[in-house]
């Protein structure tokens, strides 16, 4: 009846069997890296799932669920340390929900047009490529600085950039900030949008944006970003469940378990490493994933043809 069924588990939504240990290992590896670098790891997990044969729609939708789980445990620990600006997270979350609703809507349209894979690939190439290069540059500079013995330039009080000249200012006590809601809305909605289209939490974009654009203090930024990601991804999961119906709960659970365990080990290893070395590693990783997608777009595929089923089989 069943052939070599010991390691296989049937995914009810993806409608194919997968090797449990392979998915568990993937979740674990990405969890390890996410604990190491302090990121969600969605941008690694979604491509891994797609490259291992799970339909892109299911991969993207399911990873949003996995990110809810991985950010939930992070939020808990930052909450205990009072490392969250709830007001800032709330504003980011509201804008994130708007972005993610638009994202899920566009996701459905692209899927029906047959161009979902292309958009996912292009977006990965663009965003990961850019951010990877920026991270590499920044961390290399920091490493050079350390080698040459210069002290890194810290945040000076009263230091402002163009963002601080915008209207509709709101005070965020926990972050000691008084800034316009416009950039906050922009950051929140664009990351929410990318999150639901690409199946990424966007922490690796959110954290630098909050630090460099809004000057959110370092002890607040990760907890706040995690809470925002948790909220946005929970909404994205819900919208995907309703709109694209491609959230696979079995796949999500397998990934979560691997992920949370891996994250614990990653966090322990990460504590013993220098910040700029971690950022260098992360930058390389981000760039590699981007290049992998670029490779698929540029190199002539083995089979030019692909088949996609449009409707459910007629019942």
């Amino acid at each position: 009846m069943t052939r070599g069924a010991i390691l296989q588990i049937y995914l009810p939504i993806a409608e194919l069997p997968i090797n449990v240990f392979m998915i568990f290992a993937m979740g674990g590896t990405v969890g390890f890296l996410s604990g190491l670098f302090g990121i969600g790891g969605g941008f690694l997990l979604t491509p891994l799932l797609i490259f291992s044969g799970i339909p892109p729609a299911v991969s993207v939708a399911t990873v949003t669920t996995q990110i809810v789980a991985s950010s939930a445990s992070g939020v808990l620990s930052y909450w205990r340390k009072a490392g969250i600006d709830f007001k800032l997270a709330g504003v980011l979350l509201c804008s994130g929900i708007v972005g993610s609703a638009i994202g899920v809507w566009i996701f459905g349209i692209l899927r029906s047009l047959g161009q979902l894979d292309l958009v996912i690939s292009l977006a990965y190439v663009t965003f990961l490529g850019t951010i990877g290069v920026l991270m590499l540059g920044e961390s290399m500079k920091a490493i050079m600085r350390r080698k040459s013995g210069k002290a890194p330039a810290g945040r000076k009080p009263g230091q402002h950039n163009w963002v601080h000249g915008l209207p509709f200012k709101v005070r965020f006590r926990r972050s000691k900030l008084y800034v316009s809601v416009i950039p906050i809305f922009g950051i929140g909605s664009s990351i929410g949008f990318l999150g639901s289209v690409l199946g990424i939490g966007g922490g690796f974009m959110m954290v630098p944006a909050l630090i460099y654009l809004l000057r959110v203090p370092a002890n607040i930024v990760i907890g706040t970003s995690l809470l925002q990601i948790l909220g946005t991804m929970a909404v994205a999961t819900f919208l995907h469940a309703i709109n694209t119906q491609s959230v696979d709960i079995v796949l999500a659970l397998t990934l979560m378990i691997g992920g949370v365990i891996g994250a614990q080990f990653g966090a322990q290893v990460g504590q013993g490493m220098r910040g700029e070395h971690l950022r260098l590693g992360l930058g390389l990783l981000v760039l590699l994933v981007g290049l992998r997608f670029a490779f698929n777009l540029i190199v002539e595929p083995e089979d030019l043809y692909s088949v996609s089923v449009i409707e459910e089989p007629v019942k």
Partner: protein
Amino acid sequence: MRQAMHSLTTLLTVFFLALISGAPALAEKLVSAVSSSHVAITSNFTGTEILVYGEIARDAETVSRTGNQDVVVVVEGPLERVTTWRKDRIVGLWINATSQTYIAVPSFYAVHATDDLRNIASDDWLKQYRIGLEHLPLAALGTRAPALERNAFKAAFLRSRVQNGLYSQMSKSINFLSPTLFSTTVDLPATIPTGDYKVTTFLFSGGVLLDQQEQVLTVAKTGFEQVTFNLSRQHPAVYGALAIILALFTGWLAGVIFKKD
């Protein structure tokens, strides 16, 4: 007198024989069955196989025919609509550029036969009964593409389906256990769609269809898989909420278990 009676009996017998063999082609009946009418997709489902078997029944009086008889078994899954895309290089990138959409193609199709299909019956017969991959009616929706282009898409579609095991065609794959008993096993891969499948058995002789039999095979998710799938389709909001709760719970649990103090 006795002589006359004897001749009469002979005559009658001959007449009777002539009557029943008047349409010799119809004397053979086909009886077929499927090993199981239900395929259950459970959490450890990795594909399965079904046995299609049967008998070519002859009337007792029928003279055993020496002409070659052929059996064909066709398993057809529920119909679906598919699009075949072809990538083209556009500004240096390989992008899905042209497509052809087929309506009502079987989601699964397997044909097993006692011989090469072209030895069994003419193309007209095979087309009429949708026997053989090349005889599946694959008409592209609203296309004005030239025949060469259409055939390239059709070939690509069939190739892809054969590669992932959803379509197959095997000649000389039906075994005769006795001169009249036959059987064949059809592989159902792990990715088969759910729904009602049609299992049709054909009996051909000398290029003519003598009889055909049809059975229904139901492929369905059962237990947890069925509940999960139905929930996601019928109550997507509940399903989504459950997914979120599950994720929050797992995250919280991990936070509690690995709490460092």
